[in-house]
Amino acid sequence: MNQVTDRPVWNWDVVWEHLPAIWDGMVVIIQATLAGITMAMILGLFLALGRRSERRWLSWPFAAFIDFIRSTPLLIQLFFVFFALPDMGIVLGARTSLILGLGVHYAAYASEAYRAGINAVEKGQWEAATALNLSTGTTWQKVILPQAIPKVIPALGNFLVAMIKDAPLGQSIGVAGVLFVARSIGSQTFQYVETMTIAGVLFLAVSVPAALFVQFLERKYGYEAA
């Protein structure tokens, strides 16, 4: 028996009673993560291309934006999206704000991964494209990106795993994710040990397979040398 609270250390009834609700919270997290990573992948490419622009007036703002996002906490960025944007006329719900926040934050990281992948494509490939008079669109679509993307995929996989771990931050703007649910049940029942532990276990149940999947991706794409 626990000396402070004079209760059993672990109460299984509590676990079974609240597991479904906490699992629902986990589902919310997964959904937000999937939406977020999709946004990050697309926006990240856009940011990377903008940063590569040869026109300083274009590339500099992109670089500054990327650096700023990567240097500041996701939490504050979420606050900004949820609390500050309404003042500027953009009102988004909690879940949308979370997805937007995750998407933009990780797009900044993704853009660096894209940049590395694109830079890794040999200079000679660009020259061959010029020698064949390929248009810019064709060059990107058929020559450069097909060689750059495989190198980017492991990094994107890592971002997915990182995003899963960051998505619970949504609880601070009211998203009914796994932490939000665990905390509210905990505050009602005072069964914090059980609820928080369930939350942690469920979380690992999702993030560990995801991490293994990423390792698989790294192996698969890491060795496909062009």
Binding site: E122, G124, Q125, A128
Partner: protein, 253 residues
């Protein structure tokens, strides 16, 4: 076919081409030789728009590459114009630069389909023909990683031919090959030269080959043309000591 006037190019402090004038007639085979840093590779790259000249003009088949005519004046050309004129020039590289994620066939068909607008069947038929003519008809489905250096270079030549250029530039195309593979590539070049019509500009160290196929040999030195004449003259009776010294050094191998 190719007319260059007053072409100057510097990389930082290093002036690589100085007010260069050069002409290449249609169907002519010109071999460019010279020590490294003399500008011989740069001039090819300028013709291929891989380097922009700091000043001067380049004309391909009567059309200005880097300039446009507007109200009788020459102004800097738009990208669209450059691309349009560039379609008459192609280049084969020292390090092949084949697309590693495509088969040999796909390497050759990409540009005809995307740039010349040919249909899949047309492009494939042409590609098979070209790969056949360079002796690789049986390797169409192979990827570059599965080919030897000589084979890769031959695919590269077929790839450039597929876009139907009027001028082809060859930038030391055998220098990166193992010695025993050089011959097969030179064979293809010889064949191409003998067929007659293609205007060819080659930078090479293969002097024997050069004397065989060249109509003209041009010796570059410090960004200018030092000597210009038929192979028999340049190789047997060069005018300048510099040329003689260079040839002696190269032929020592």
């Amino acid at each position: 076919m190719v007319r260059m006037r007053g072409v100057t190019k510097a990389f930082g402090e290093n002036v690589v081409l100085r007010e260069l004038d050069m002409d290449v007639a249609p169907g002519e085979k010109v071999v460019i030789i010279g020590p490294s840093g003399s500008g011989k590779t740069t001039i090819l790259r300028v013709a291929m728009t891989l380097e922009r000249p700091d000043s001067g003009t380049v004309e391909i088949d009567g059309r200005h590459l880097y300039h446009q005519e507007k109200n009788g004046q020459l102004v800097t050309a738009t990208e669209k114009h450059i691309r349009s004129v560039r379609s008459d020039v192609s280049m084969v590289f020292q390090h092949f630069n084949l697309f590693p994620h495509m088969t040999a066939l796909e390497n050759v068909t990409l540009a005809p389909i995307k740039v010349l607008g040919k249909s899949n069947e047309e492009a494939q038929e042409q590609a098979i023909r070209l790969l056949d003519s360079v002796g690789l008809g049986d390797k169409t489905g192979h990827r570059p990683s599965e080919l030897s250096g000589g084979q890769k270079q031959r695919v590269a030549i077929a790839r450039s031919l597929a876009i139907d250029p009027k001028v082809m530039c060859f930038d030391e195309v055998t220098s990166a090959l193992d010695p025993e593979l050089v011959g097969e590539v030179l064979g293809v070049l010889r064949k191409l030269a003998e067929e007659g019509e293609m205007t060819m500009m080659l930078v090479t160290h293969e002097m024997g080959f050069a004397s065989e196929i060249a109509d003209r040999v041009v010796m570059f030195d410090h960004g200018k043309i030092l000597e210009d004449g038929p192979p028999s003259q340049i190789f047997k009776q060069p005018e300048h000591d510099r040329t003689r010294a260079f040839l002696q050094a190269v032929l020592q191998h």
